[in-house]
Symmetry: D2
Subunit: 292 residues, 4 copies
């Protein structure tokens, strides 16, 4: 397929490379051009604008940092919406609000274009090795057209429903689940430290109990208070909690635990931790226990 | 070893049976006598009072419902404290406060008796099949004396520290971690339902993400709203949150997420769910979202 | 002074009338025209667009429902920003975010126009009888020019600082204080009802303790469960909590109590109470106590 | 009347003095004897034990720090329960749990004694000048017998119900209302400080809004960060939140705001503020905003 790939950060670069490996033609664009150029040796054509990348594409894939970046790339002066052909499909992989995919679906439909939302679970290493989990929603025929692409970038694709934004609810819900686990570790480890219990022993017991690699990884970071380098920066974590709370408000579904997580991250940012790993929000529980 | 086993509920019965299988002599007592008598065919001697069971024992094991039951059995008129020989050891397996093992350690020491706290992780099936995880704390020599017993009832024993009550902090912390996971599922599922997303699809994605049998089990109960029969009754869940919050207060370590859990369980009890499974506390998130 | 008054709802109408009484010339505009026309007998000139009202004005006063309404009226195609003369002043009385007055200050400055933010405390009756409290912020000279207008609409004006948005922080903070009081009443009354205590007796004691007309008023509404007619609709109350939380996020100042209030109001809206008085958010505390 | 007065701290001393002024005979006892002896010049008879004070009394008044002190004084070896005559009445003025007055009512009834719970609102100055508010509950005839005493110590007595513990619910609810106000001030002042707004200006606006001397007093303490000397120590404030939460649990009435208050006070205690005024719990909001 002829593909435009917009957004070549750590996640996007791996995904684009896997599409090239599967024989797709890729026209790439990134705001900082050198990241796009890094894909040229692998066979990507480098575009000067999102519009140029999108012009001949059957599918436009976007993997960007936030709502604002997506809006600019889609609706801006050199945006893809104005350049995409009728019948072409936009696949949004970004972690964004539920409101924006609602608008994207409408606007693309007005132009005779198709839209699928397909956020992914997995870290940059998984993007590089095509082991992402793709969570997709959209019209059935659109999803079917996307399958070869999903197969190229991930190990599995789960189809959620007909409304593209429903896939984003799942992505936001998943991030909320991980952040909840972090807070529970934060409070439990603070309690252990006040009790004179070695956090590693508590973690060992929890690993035996939950048997989850996610608990093992993140629990280890918190037990060792190892918040640098940031796998996922706290300020991005706060952005995600803001998105989940906005979804909760739009859908009238109160989430007091998400509110707590937001307040913890906000406190951590107020205390200068914005560039540390988001697991460092657990330091607020320690702070309140008089440990810092 | 000559053992007294006090408390033969679903957990205790399995543990006592495994001690008998390992060739230990067991004198058993239970408040409702027929539960003790069920162990007679397996070789247990049935005692008329805790004191009678404890009189000749090298080790007295207690597995009881709450602080009050332990206090009665240990310090009551026919309690074990008055009957145990000097040098004998009391091993407390119950999920109790951190204050009570502190008192037990003191009182037994006054009488020349030893005390180890060794709460267990695992369900009745694991107790029956000797696959419990034992979390033990106490003086090193005391722990060493207990090892053959831990080997008989569990698949592993993790030693936490010198102070018996430290083992209880870990047990309470572990229950808090599970209850936290339940609340995160409750809020996420309510959001999914308001978004028209099938809870089972969200669960499938979470299982792929966390890869934890605990998430799989409990997530399934909440996704299916299957709160009967109760694996662990909500009113016992509330008791545990009360204990973790009491520990948090004693150790001056605030736990806002534990406070949220307590309030959720309290609401569920106010609405008549005390005998349902504790995972039914997630119904409060659904209620607040207008789903019930 | 030659004044444009934009937004003649229950609050704005009373304020505009008092400006006319003080001899100011008022050109009025309202989205639903009949509300503007109601001011004609009192001497107001009715304008067809915000721009028309603003063209000759020395001061443009806006009293609108939310950020979006202000943005349309100021920056829309027939907006006041394009019509106001150089040197004229825009006085914003609306309860809006802290981000919008920051933008208004910038945009007006670019056009050589002045900007003061002056939200008001008081209900429609106080607007009618010129007993509002005006909380104003902006450049000193600008504030001085506004004083005759503040004198016409309110009983006192308190000057907060040089940055217009600072006045909005105070307004949002004040609404947060009232909403906090409502939640405390909600939880306390639920407790009283579960204890079989007459809520009116509790209220009598609280009135003796706090001696505040605000407690007396709102406490009475909650004690009597009298949530209609709405003095201030719950959905507007939620909007204000959203604004206070957005300010908290922008200023990195976590507000867990504001988060709780938001979640309560969201639950109340999910349960169909959006058009009831915002004090009806207290029904969620009663709901959780099993009282509804 | 012949009165025994047990507990002559800052509150009790003022109350006892007013009873003497009204011509009642007072036998006084205090754990630290010199505080009782200070009442001798005013005409009090000093007793060596609670039992001695209670022996000939028609009414035994207790004003003590907490549940434990009341239990010792009433049920201890030299306690009043064993000494009071049949038909005599025990009036409990202390701020205690709702569980203890339930037990007191039962135990006194068994002995043919009467029991009224009558906690008071007001500070030591109000106790000294007989301006307390008495909140009383008990059997109607018992309340009637107490009225002359209530008239001597307070400016008004409000009768709540037939069950003595119901008066304690109101007292705890009142303390919760004040603590809630403190938290709302704490979060609002932190926001003001981050916005560069003078806290005194915010307080001025709030005083205009609420017109409450309680807001004025406590708001001033928080605005000035003046937490010493302690009018009411934080550790006593925490005790009261514990009591209100225990009442909430006993009555199955969740109070998330009370949970928040508890966690704030616990954090403040963890950070060494136990002896400061309870309004210093507001420092946690400032801490989380990065202000400390």
């Amino acid at each position: 397929m002829r593909i435009a790939f917009i957004g070549l950060g750590r996640m996007g670069a791996g995904m684009a490379r896997n599409l090239l490996r599967h024989g797709h033609q890729v026209a790439a664009w990134n705001r900082t051009p050198h990241k796009a150029q890094a894909l040229a040796p692998a066979g990507a054509k480098i575009a000067a604008t999102p519009a140029e990348a999108a012009r001949d594409a059957e599918a436009v894939l976007t993997m960007l940092a936030d709502d604002q970046a997506v809006e600019e790339v889609v609706f801006g002066p050199q945006g893809v919406a104005g350049a995409m052909q009728e019948g072409a499909i936009h696949i949004s992989h970004s972690t964004i609000s539920i409101a924006l995919p609602q608008r994207l679906a409408e606007e693309h439909a007005k132009r005779g274009q198709h839209f699928v939302s397909a956020p992914v679970f997995g870290r940059p290493e998984a993007a590089e090795s095509a082991r992402l989990t793709v969570v997709a929603a959209g019209a059935r025929e659109d999803i079917d057209r996307c399958r070869p692409l999903f197969d190229a970038i991930g190990q599995r694709a789960i189809v959620i429903g007909r409304e593209p934004w429903q896939a984003n609810v799942i992505k936001l819900g998943g991030n909320f689940m991980i952040a909840s686990m972090l807070e529970s570790f934060g409070e439990a480890f603070a309690l252990m430290r006040k009790a004179g219990v070695d956090p590693n022993l508590f973690l060992e017991v929890m690993n035996g109990l939950f048997k989850s690699p996610v608990y093992e990884n993140y629990g280890g970071l918190v037990a060792r208070q190892q918040f640098e380098p940031a796998g996922f920066a706290l300020q991005l974590g706060l952005k995600d909690q803001r998105l989940v709370l906005a979804a909760a408000e739009q859908l009238s579904s109160p989430m007091p635990l998400a509110s707590l997580l937001r307040d913890r991250m906000l406190a951590a940012i107020a205390r200068g931790q914005g560039d540390l790993d988001w697991s460092s929000a657990t330091r607020i529980a320690a702070l309140e226990a008089g440990l810092e």
